[in-house]
Symmetry: C2
Subunit: 428 residues, 2 copies
């Protein structure tokens, strides 16, 4: 595919994207289906025409639809609504969390950006919408991914909505619940006898075959577009706060890309004049699980070199042992004066329960991780409890019920009579 499309196609809809630029050496490439630099093999990122971005006004955005496409003029695809491959995710709730703040000893406003409200209930709908819209613009006619959960759900659902064939690759030992939530959409679902790493490796080989020339693997050959979708989680928070960037954000890390893109979104908003930088800047904090903490470990060891790990632990949606954007996440955290930490499985479970009990938001393990790390950051003095903070929940508790099964249950068991209710203490 690369050989055909990389040389000929450019994004057919007029948008602000200008080129793909290597994050390593700065080499530039046309807007095509390419994700690595031919010169240094570094990852590619979308670069924009700054003048085009600078023409965007708050009023333009506010007049847009109540979903992430209100920011289309800041994205690499989807300017023409008719070309979108999308479930219309975004504009998920920003929930005030005074009860959580009180329990953690935070005196400033605390908010939860609850992205479980997306159509397939994770932030992946954002990145998939941008990736597949770009993919269709680029001429791809089948959509694919390797995934163990949220991404699989999102790609299969997007393909079903668009009426486009899909093929999703999963490890063969995935829990039945996670298989159902992808299989129900009716696309091809390939169970690979192997680990997630094996699945990924196979997809990396398949994408080079003639038979998959027509296929966009959302997190492989159209990855630069995919990653840009995460910027909307930065834009939205700023707009929902009344066009203000919060002093502190706490973000879960798998590849580390989400953290870098929220930071990039804030920088863009300031650069193009939509938002004023907060007086002391903003500080970006990253959350990992102890079972998969290569990025936090590198930061704590004061190095840029990520040592891959074999992931363990219940926060499976964060379990990327060799995180592609880890070094960039460390850069963003260092530059902004933030920090990273990690939470073990018990702390993650407690984080899920604490968030639910104080806000009514039921998060998957990734959200529990982020809340648990928020608590650690306050306790260790790394996070300023007197500064406004936004904590990101990226997924839905219904998808990881097993994590807290056995921990929560009925508080009373009673026979169906008033006398039994009285004996159980329900009646004074």
């Amino acid at each position: 595919m690369t050989s055909i499309i990389a040389e000929t196609a450019t994004t057919p809809t007029p948008g602000p994207a200008r080129a793909l630029v290597c994050r390593g050496c700065g080499a530039e490439y046309p807007l095509a289906a390419q994700h690595a630099c031919y010169a240094c093999f570094g990852p590619l990122e979308v670069a924009y025409d700054q003048a085009a971005l600078a023409r965007v006004t708050r009023a333009d955005i506010e007049a847009g639809p109540n979903n992430m496409w209100r920011y289309a003029a800041l994205l690499p695809a989807g300017q023409d609504p008719a070309t979108r491959v999308t479930l219309d995710p975004g504009m998920t709730p920003l929930v005030a969390a005074p009860g959580l703040a009180a329990e953690l000893g935070i005196s400033a406003p605390l908010w939860v950006k609850d992205d479980s409200g997306n159509p397939t209930h994770s932030f992946k709908d954002r990145v998939v919408s941008v990736a597949l819209t770009a993919a269709r613009d680029l001429g791809f006619t089948r959509f694919a991914c390797a995934s163990t959960g949220n991404l699989a759900n999102s790609v299969a659902a997007h393909a079903a909505r668009a009426g486009v064939p899909s093929v999703v690759f999963i490890p063969g030992d995935l829990e039945p619940g996670k298989i159902i939530t992808t299989a129900v959409y009716g696309g091809d679902l390939v169970a690979i006898d192997g680990s997630y790493d094996d699945v990924n490796r196979l997809c990396g080989e398949l994408v080079e075959t003639d038979e998959f020339e027509d296929t966009a693997f959302v997190n492989v050959n159209v990855r630069p577009y995919y990653a840009e979708g995460s910027k909307t989680l930065g834009y939205e928070v700023a707009e929902q706060l009344g066009w203000r960037i919060p002093a502190q954000v706490v973000i879960p890390m798998a590849s580390g890309e989400l953290l870098t893109k929220v930071d990039k979104a804030f920088s863009e908003l300031v650069e193009i004049g939509l938002v004023e930088a907060p007086a002391g800047g903003w500080r970006v904090f990253g959350a990992q699980s102890t079972g998969c903490n290569p990025i936090a470990t590198a930061l704590h060891a004061d190095t840029d070199t990520i040592t891959p790990v074999k992931p363990t632990g219940i926060a499976k949606s964060l379990n990327i042992g060799d995180p592609a954007a880890g070094a960039y996440a460390i850069e963003a955290v260092r530059r902004t004066g933030g920090w990273m930490d990690h939470a073990d499985d018990d702390e993650i479970r407690a984080g899920i329960r604490l968030l639910a009990r104080t806000t009514g938001v039921f998060a998957e393990t990734a959200g529990g991780t982020t809340v648990a790390v928020l608590k650690k950051l306050v306790d260790s003095g790394r996070l300023d409890p007197t500064a406004e903070t936004v904590v990101y929940n990226t997924g839905e508790g219904l998808k990881t019920l097993d994590a807290i099964a056995g921990l929560v249950g009925p508080t009373h068991r009673v026979k169906p009579s008033l006398r039994a209710a009285r004996e159980a203490g329900l009646l004074g």
Copy 2:
């Protein structure tokens, strides 16, 4: 509670609600915590000051928040945002469904109103928000319900967000998954050794005790307010269609109340001049499961008398064997020229899969029921395939995974190598 509050309290915030009126004999009562007529024991419904409703403009609504509270001026509670007990549900997607229409032989626009997008992923967030907001206005300091699933989730989450104690009553043999999704919010959760009917009966006794004088049971003592929340599912569809009422709507029925309230919402919009009635009026269709079909059975037998049934079948959120609003649902269907039908468990499962495959919307069994009935209505000629139709999905597939477990799964199983992929037919 009734004895104290019914005689003294009225809604403290200025709203359009005027009184509670008996649906049976028309007797009027003040806006209090009362749900049955003292004269004839009929159910009470909120009545409005029509002049107040008529002052509401489209512009007022469009300037409101992007959730159901944009219709606060048409609701019995929540006019003052500061008084709301809410997760801010509503303004869920209205999804165009051309693929589903094509499969069913519908030539006119077909839409899915997908209420799984609410915070706890069912339409119950709407009714609970109105009920608990009214309840707090009325002086209640604890929130309760009897439920087997969606309602329990919603009440517990609302109470957690508001920082108000809650007590949720469930049958003791409920599936662990449904217990977790309520217990995680940390309120009291009382498992009753008995059926849902036993749970309901006990709640009816508890509500009369001194110890529960401070407690609002959302679907008992504040039921008239609760029921009004469903109107927003009518308002939203009309607004999302560009202030137009669709020719046909297909709505799942448990108590039958949702159907009557969507119809009431359409009537109100026409009466107060916000929308023109469609040329041929609108037709309301009701969907039940074959395992619990007392309303459809009565309609088919051309009677108003609902014969209660003992519910069976997988559409548990629709399993109300003695539906309180069944006769009113029949009245609405007859008056508008609609119809009712029911679908068995296999048809419900097929409905879930059909909807997911053609729209990317993954519905719980109630949504599968509605889609299956939509298909029957087309096949039987009861529903006009050349007229615009909206079908309501009221809940989330993640909550009823068991319904389709074993039916959907991987389409291929492959070892992690290109050779294996080729042998499996993935490479031509």
